[in-house]
Symmetry: C2
Subunit: 469 residues, 2 copies
């Protein structure tokens, strides 16, 4: 696709990058993103319930001028056979919105993007807690909208089966609309609080949603004022057809998983192209692929770090990873050094991720060992390995070639993996003029360069007045 | 009932009080408990979304060695005619669990008791967020279990009607059992985190609830470890027949509303008497009536403070308060100086509070003005007015005469109403040996003198082993 050497391609785009800056998220999964991160001598094995640990890494991300920290979530324990499950350091952890509320009290600039499910939550409850987090943090909240990939969640909410992919996306669309409607319950200037007259708010600036739809009937108003950002930043991660369309309609940030520049470019162009049909401009949506960085002072040190991490994977964990993807396939006749067989087609769980793994498996020459080693790092996200300079090169290549507006950095282990990025890579990005040297604004929305949404009821009232005039 | 003068009665009980200490909660409702608190020159009118305000008052409560701060909640906006509603300073505010999570990061000892609804939440979601708060605060969380009195909530959750009182209590009982079962998903020592062997937890110490009941079907396990306190402290406020029984079965603290010593004694004896049938001892439940203190350096100053507060009530607000209780009664033929007519019987909303107001109204000689003035202070809770010494006397009288184990202090305005209590009344209580001079423990449970509950699955396993042996 790109015939010119990397250095020339970067040079060509320098002009463009003068004004455009990287967006950076720090995906702060407890002990780190490597499947066996918790076994690493430098990792904090009890990270999932260690507030001081999260405080340290979030303050590190803020020192590194990241836009936001990010947490994944599902309302259930991840399954697996006992011999694999007992080796999983990621089953238990803080609930993200409570954790981020606490972290908001000990930070000033960094944003907080929490995952929450449209399949297993109620719009009123979700709208409230994110609005509350937005007030607590003075405008630093973001909601990563997911329909939930963890099928174990269903049985925790009285359901026999995890709803079908298409049903989940239908519900998600309506859910997001309801939540936005609730966030618009009050005009930004509804609260007068005039002690003299005793009038607390202007009743003309209170809007009752009265939503009645396919999945929800929600009257409102919300018992929280309009969030400081209007709406907390809307984030998405799904990359299936339905996911891309929902993102183009509602998302302001996408965290995506791409392995190759070509795939990332296809995704970037496709999703940005969909925005116009929803009356949005390409700048209204920031696309941030995940990147799992292994940083060494030399290439050799980075390679050694990588191999040490991979050596921590117990064989039971290796087979556990493979079985997650080869559902219904009998793997007992294979050894880890056999070529990876073809993957099954049917799934109700994370369609876009399956496609990606399929691409890996069918690129033709991977053994099962190579496949699990590829998946063990960042579950299909891109691994970038090297010195601070070459890590920066790899990020810049995607940024300057229509594949990314920034990256969601996934440290292999925490806290040291994030320390390395902030101490070693961020200064390189800054020197190249690719990344901020101070926060531009005070809200997440301002730092990401996103517009503050206008209250939908105010817009309607203006429209009505224009019609009358 | 008590013929001896107050001073003698207090003397008689001094011996007893040497070992028994007051429990104190601070009910930190945004601008304060008086219905027009927000209009007071000293109040923080935007308190509902002012984190610095909550930080200040929570740190004040901690300086005063309170056991906990407490917040009421319902998932809906309180209604009322627009002319009353627009004067209400309590419609919008932080969601309590997110607020308390943030406050946990800036405090060390004080507990956090958040109200959450068994009618409008899901057990899995609720169990998670309270367990998470318990970890964030290192064992300082409490859950005030309510079935929700605010009928407006129903329409926010797709329901035509707020469920009936008896249905709500049936669901509440099962809800609490499910939540406790989820908190017991992991043994206290389930997590080994052995980096050498790669084993993160002992699978024998993971318990899947598999609950299937009348209202809920919840498999588990919870994706949060067993909370530091075993269970966050279980609190209740309902005082109806169903409420008292649920409390005797499950509550560890009751916040109650009583106006007279005799009523408080009846409640105290009745609820403590119910404990034995659930295998519990009287000490397993602390009864803490609400108290709305108006504190002056002299009685006259206190009286002036009280009258100034009452003067802030706009007539529309006065009629609004009365209409809340006189549902279906045409009040238009009455003036505020007429005797209060009898109250209607039927209600689906807060039965115990209605009885209390009824008692006030039918004590015979109150005018409608006197009734609303009585309700305007603390919605039926006891008002205590005087100097620090006489305030302490009034609290001590109940504490020493089988009416209370402590009190939930409801400052008329915030922050100054709490400042007064901590600066002026707490030292008097301490001098009398009635209140701690330092925190006894590090968890809310330890400070309240409550036992840490044993994991129900551990108990079952022990029982099974005993049977086998």
């Amino acid at each position: 696709m790109h015939k010119q050497p990397l250095a020339i391609r970067i040079e060509k785009k320098k002009q463009m990058s003068k004004t455009r800056k990287f967006r950076l998220g720090a995906f702060i999964q407890a002990t780190g993103h490597h499947v066996s991160a918790w076994r690493h001598p430098d990792s904090q094995a009890d990270a999932g319930f260690n507030f001081e640990h999260y405080k340290e890494i979030t303050q590190t991300a803020q020192r590194g001028l990241f836009d936001a920290v990010f947490l994944a979530d599902s309302p259930g324990v991840w399954g697996g056979a006992p011999e694999t499950q007992k080796r999983n350091g990621k089953l238990v952890h803080f609930e993200p919105v409570t954790l981020f509320s606490a972290l908001s009290a000990v930070t000033q600039n960094i944003g907080f993007i929490a995952t929450a499910s449209t399949t297993y939550e109620e719009p009123y409850t979700l709208a409230r807690k994110f609005a509350s987090l937005d007030y607590l943090s003075n405008g630093r909240a973001g909601w990563n909208v997911v329909t939930t990939g963890n099928e174990n969640a269903a049985a925790n909410f009285g359901l026999q089966h995890h709803p079908e992919h298409s049903q989940r996306y239908e519900r998600a669309e309506e859910f997001v609309e309801v939540v936005k409607g609730l966030w618009d319950s009050w005009d930004d200037d509804a609260f007068i609080r005039d002690k003299e007259s005793g009038i607390y708010f202007d009743p003309d600036k209170l809007h009752t949603l009265n939503h009645k739809g396919q999945h929800f009937s929600v009257k409102g108003p919300l018992n929280v004022g309009r969030p400081p950002q209007g709406y907390p930043v809307i984030v998405q991660a799904g990359a299936s057809e339905a996911g891309r369309d929902l993102a183009a309609r509602t998302a302001e940030v996408i965290f995506t998983a791409n392995q190759t520049l070509a795939d990332a470019q296809e995704f970037y162009a496709d999703v940005k192209g969909r925005l116009v049909k929803y009356g949005r401009s390409p700048d209204d949506l920031k696309i941030m692929p995940g990147a799992f960085p292994i940083i060494g002072r030399t290439e050799e040190e980075a390679q050694e770090k990588y191999e040490f991490l991979q050596s921590l994977i117990h064989p039971d964990v290796a087979w556990g990873i493979l079985k997650t993807y080869y559902k219904g396939v009998d793997l007992s006749k294979y050894s880890l050094d056999d070529l990876a067989p073809e993957l099954p087609n049917e799934t109700n769980n994370n369609k876009s991720r399956l496609k990606l793994v399929k691409d890996l498996a069918t690129r033709g020459t991977l053994t099962l060992r190579q496949l699990y080693l590829a998946l063990a790092t960042a579950r299909g996200h891109r691994t970038i390995l090297g010195t601070p300079e070459t890590i920066a090169d790899q990020l810049e290549e995607w940024f300057n070639n229509g594949a990314a507006d920034g990256f969601n950095i996934m440290p292999p282990i925490l806290p040291t993996g994030l320390d390395d990025f902030v101490n070693l890579v961020v200064p390189v990005l800054q020197k190249r003029g690719l990344f901020r040297t101070e926060y531009e604004g005070s809200t997440l929305r301002e730092n990401l360069g996103l517009r503050r949404p206008v209250n939908q009821f105010t817009v309607k009232q203006l429209d009505e007045r224009l019609v009358l005039a």
